[in-house]
Structures are given as structure tokens and as C-alpha cells.
């Protein structure tokens, strides 16, 4: 039995990672394998999912990219602002840079294998309670929730301020003004029911929010040749299905936000460039080693 630990509600409309899991599971079933979806949280949080994949108790997990970065920060390259123009560009970078090969070499020690990078939804924009953001200067008075040093550095580079708030406290933080906003995919305020107090989304396209599909290496290596071929094919099928979904999701996400009363700022390429230019110094904030940054930026430039 192949257990797939989900990271979101099983909703084909709003969740890119569920689109992936759904297509992957169906492809495996078609190949005669037994598949079971485990709801989000059923086998624990991110740290627990990773640990169970690593012990072989769990076969497949849709995991935070951070889970991989805890072994080797190289993967954080996908979190560099504006490193990818779009998902197609990301796919070219991943292929050209042999990214999977590299990552899998460093996480093999944990008995874990990276099978896919899945867009969770359309590119992340700037989500705020009251401020309307079209250019970096609009953010000078804002305090934004940051995930890591790199995001703190990014907000600083944009002339804004970052601060640390636990994800569980983001809703009350937004309502009381501890924070004025955060960076995420447009579906996130809808998924978490925040549209009563989140009033603006600025489509700045900063990063592609990603999930890492991790599988147990001992499970994968122990598969028969035909089963392994079926899994590899299922990955391709699921990757394609997610990208098809993403094509329509970008527009539907923004429309869904507007339907919930959230103002959407659609930025022109020139307006996005203002953010992009200011973000460059962030690449050297220490999120990942300089030589890793070089790998990512070179392949990214080459495949633009």
C-alpha cells in the first residue's frame, strides 16, 4: 500500500499539491498499485512527516521545502525572489541544472528521495490588510510577516520592515496590527478564511510557492522494475496535471479573491521590475551558501 500524506485539504479547485497527489494516486491505481491518501495532519506535522518518510513508515509526503533544506540548504534557491519568471522557466532550470540529482545526492543519507517540486498555487504576491501596494514605496510604513532572514532582508531592501510571527498567530496579528501583511499565493487567504480582514492582494509574482514531493528511498529502491517505471510515469502525469491546473488557476484565484471583496492589484511588467531590481541584494543574505546561489543564478540566466 502506498500512503500519500497530504498537506492541504483535498480540494482540486484551490490546491496545487492536491491536484498533484490526486493525479499521482490515480496513475498508480491504474498501474495496479494500492493507494491511500492520509488527510493533512493525520500522521503529524512537517517534522513528523519527514521523519516517517525517512524511516520508511510513510511512502509519499507532500512536504515543505524547508524539510529538504534542513538537510541541505541548496534547495532554498527556489525561494530567491524572482529567480524564476514562471513555472515553465522553473522546469527548464531544474532540468538544465540537474537539480534533482544534486538534491537527491545530499538527502540520500536520510533515506529520502525528492521526486517532484509542485507549485502550490499561482505565484506569491503581497497580501495586506489595508495598504494598497503597487510599488515598493507603498510598503514603507508596513510591517510584514517574514519566514526567514532572507525575507527580512527582502522587505528591508524594499524599504519595508519584516518581523517574526508564528503562522498560528498570523490571523490575530493581522487583525490587531502586529503585522500589516505577508507574502503568499493568492489562494491562501481564501483557504484560511482570512478574506474578512485581508483586503488587498498585489500580484507582484515574487516567488513560486512550492511543495516538495518526498518519498521513502528504501520503498522506492525496493520497488520492482515495472512498479518503479509506473511510479516514474505517474510523476510525469501528475506534474503535467498540476501545470494544466495552474494555467487556469492564476486567473481563477484572482477572480475568487475579488469575489470575496479583496482588491487585486494587477502589476505591469515594469511595476514588477521595480520589486525585482530591489530584490537582487537579497540573494546574498546567507539563506544559502554563495556557491549555491551562483549555481541557481547562472542556470536561471542561461534558461531565461
Amino acid at each position: 500500500e502506498v500512503k500519500i500524506a497530504l498537506d492541504t485539504k483535498p480540494d482540486l479547485e484551490t490546491s496545487g499539491s492536491y491536484n498533484w497527489a490526486y493525479a499521482f494516486g490515480n496513475a498508480l491505481k491504474a498501474a495496479g498499485m494500492e493507494v491511500r491518501e492520509l488527510p493533512r495532519g493525520a500522521v503529524g506535522n512537517e517534522a513528523e512527516k519527514f521523519d516517517q518518510v525517512s524511516t520508511g513508515l510513510l511512502e509519499v509526503s507532500l512536504s515543505d521545502v524547508r524539510a529538504v533544506a534542513q538537510v541541505d540548504p541548496f534547495i532554498y534557491g527556489v525561494r530567491l525572489p524572482y529567480i524564476f519568471d514562471d513555472v515553465a522557466h522553473m522546469d527548464r532550470v531544474v532540468a538544465e541544472g540537474n537539480i534533482f540529482e544534486r538534491v537527491n545526492k545530499s538527502i540520500a543519507n536520510q533515506d529520502v528521495k525528492l521526486l517532484a517540486l509542485v507549485p502550490l498555487g499561482p505565484s506569491s504576491g503581497i497580501i495586506t490588510t489595508t495598504a494598497v501596494v503597487r510599488k515598493p514605496e507603498d510598503m514603507s510604513d508596513l510591517r510584514m510577516r517574514a519566514l526567514d532572514d532572507a525575507q527580512i532582508a527582502m522587505y528591508r531592501a524594499w524599504g519595508s520592515t519584516g518581523t517574526v510571527v508564528a503562522w498560528g498567530e498570523v490571523p490575530s496579528g493581522l487583525q490587531t496590527g502586529v503585522i500589516d501583511g505577508y507574502l503568499n499565493s493568492p489562494f491562501v487567504p481564501i483557504m484560511f478564511g482570512q478574506t474578512d480582514f485581508v483586503k488587498n492582494f498585489s500580484d507582484a509574482g515574487v516567488i513560486i510557492p512550492l511543495r516538495a514531493v518526498l518519498v521513502s528511498k528504501s520503498w522506492y529502491d525496493g520497488l520492482s522494475e515495472s512498479d518503479r517505471a509506473a511510479v516514474d510515469t505517474a510523476v510525469k502525469t501528475a506534474d503535467a496535471a498540476t501545470r494544466t491546473w495552474l494555467g487556469s488557476a492564476t486567473n481563477s484565484a484572482l477572480a475568487a479573491l475579488e469575489a470575496k471583496g479583496v482588491t487585486v492589484q494587477r502589476l505591469s511588467p515594469e511595476e514588477r521590475d521595480a520589486f525585482r531590481k530591489l530584490s537582487e541584494p537579497v540573494y546574498h543574505s546567507g539563506l544559502l551558501p554563495e556557491e549555491d546561489v551562483k549555481v541557481w543564478t547562472e542556470v536561471s540566466a542561461k534558461t531565461r
Partner: protein, 172 residues
């Protein structure tokens, strides 16, 4: 043997008390730094949230040993049996000890030994391969509190038996 257990027990308890006071104080200070840094610095430190949480886990697990030692753990029902040295009291305490061991021993075992791969793949060994990314240290240094707390509770349990001579003449 009895003397050894009791003095080890006392020493561990003394260390656990001091450590718990320290981790709790650090947790409080870290949360305060997080609040103040938000308004005082344009680039506040990101490690505060992680450190505060880890200090809380340490406080809680060290506190669990203090609570075990003080017999302050919540019970649903006090024992229906008479107290030791009555035979039934001895039985009740033996049952309690069996419950503690049933819970603690598997935790301890799997801290050091993995399902596959033995010692090299135990919980601590797996955590040694992960880095707490805001701190830059291996997660094993943080997670090690789990086996520490379990071991201290085991010693406290042994001391409970060593404290009172049983009517069977042994010292537990």
C-alpha cells in the same frame, strides 16, 4: 546499590531543577526579545521564535521529571488498595511502575535504535542529519531532551523502589 541509586537520583533531580528554571527564564526572555526587536530593529532576529519554542519543550520535559519526582502528576483515581508495606499496596505500586515502563521504554529504545539500520538510524542519529536552520546547529542537540527526560524519570522510578525496603526483603 541502594545508596548509589538514591544519590544518583538526588543529583539528577538537583540538575533538572536548575535546568528547568534556566530554560523557563530563557523562554520568557526570548519572547520579550521578539516583541521588543519588532519595534526596535529594522532587521529583527529570526531565531527568537525557534529558541522560545525549544526552550518551552525543554521546560516541559524537565518539568515532567520534577512532577514525577514530586508525585504531582494528575491521577484520575487514587489507588483503591491499602498503602505499602501491605502486599496489595506493593502490587498497586508495581502496576504503576509497569505502566511507566510500558510508556517510557519504547520511547527510549527508539531514541537510539532505528526500525532499520540499528544504532545508525535511531531518532537522535536521524536528527543529527538535520540542521535547525535559524540556529545552525544539528537538531539532535535540541531533541536530546526527550531521552534525557525519559532516563531521569526511570532513575526516579528506581529510587521510589529503593527508598522503601519491601517486605520481600529486597531493595527493589
Amino acid at each position: 546499590m541502594k545508596h548509589l541509586i538514591l544519590s544518583l537520583d538526588a543529583a539528577l533531580h538537583a540538575v533538572a531543577r536548575r535546568a528547568a528554571v534556566l530554560t523557563l527564564a530563557l523562554m520568557f526572555l526570548t519572547v520579550m526579545i521578539q516583541v521588543i526587536a519588532r519595534y526596535a530593529f529594522s532587521a529583527p532576529p529570526v531565531w527568537t521564535e525557534d529558541v522560545a519554542r525549544y526552550m518551552m519543550v525543554w521546560t516541559g520535559l524537565l518539568g515532567a521529571t520534577l512532577s514525577f519526582k514530586a508525585r504531582a502528576d494528575a491521577v484520575l483515581m487514587s489507588s483503591v488498595f491499602p498503602d505499602r508495606p501491605h502486599g496489595l499496596g506493593l502490587l498497586a505500586e508495581a502496576i504503576q511502575a509497569a505502566a511507566v515502563l510500558t510508556f517510557i521504554l519504547p520511547v527510549l529504545y527508539f531514541c537510539f535504535i532505528g526500525l532499520r539500520g540499528g544504532f545508525a538510524k535511531g531518532y537522535l542519529a536521524r536528527q543529527a542529519g538535520l540542521t535547525a536552520d535559524t540556529l545552525g546547529i544539528p537538531m539532535a542537540w535540541i531533541a536530546v531532551i526527550v531521552p534525557i527526560a525519559m532516563l531521569v524519570i526511570l532513575v526516579h522510578l528506581a529510587a521510589r523502589w529503593a527508598e522503601q525496603p519491601t517486605k520481600f526483603g529486597g531493595h527493589g
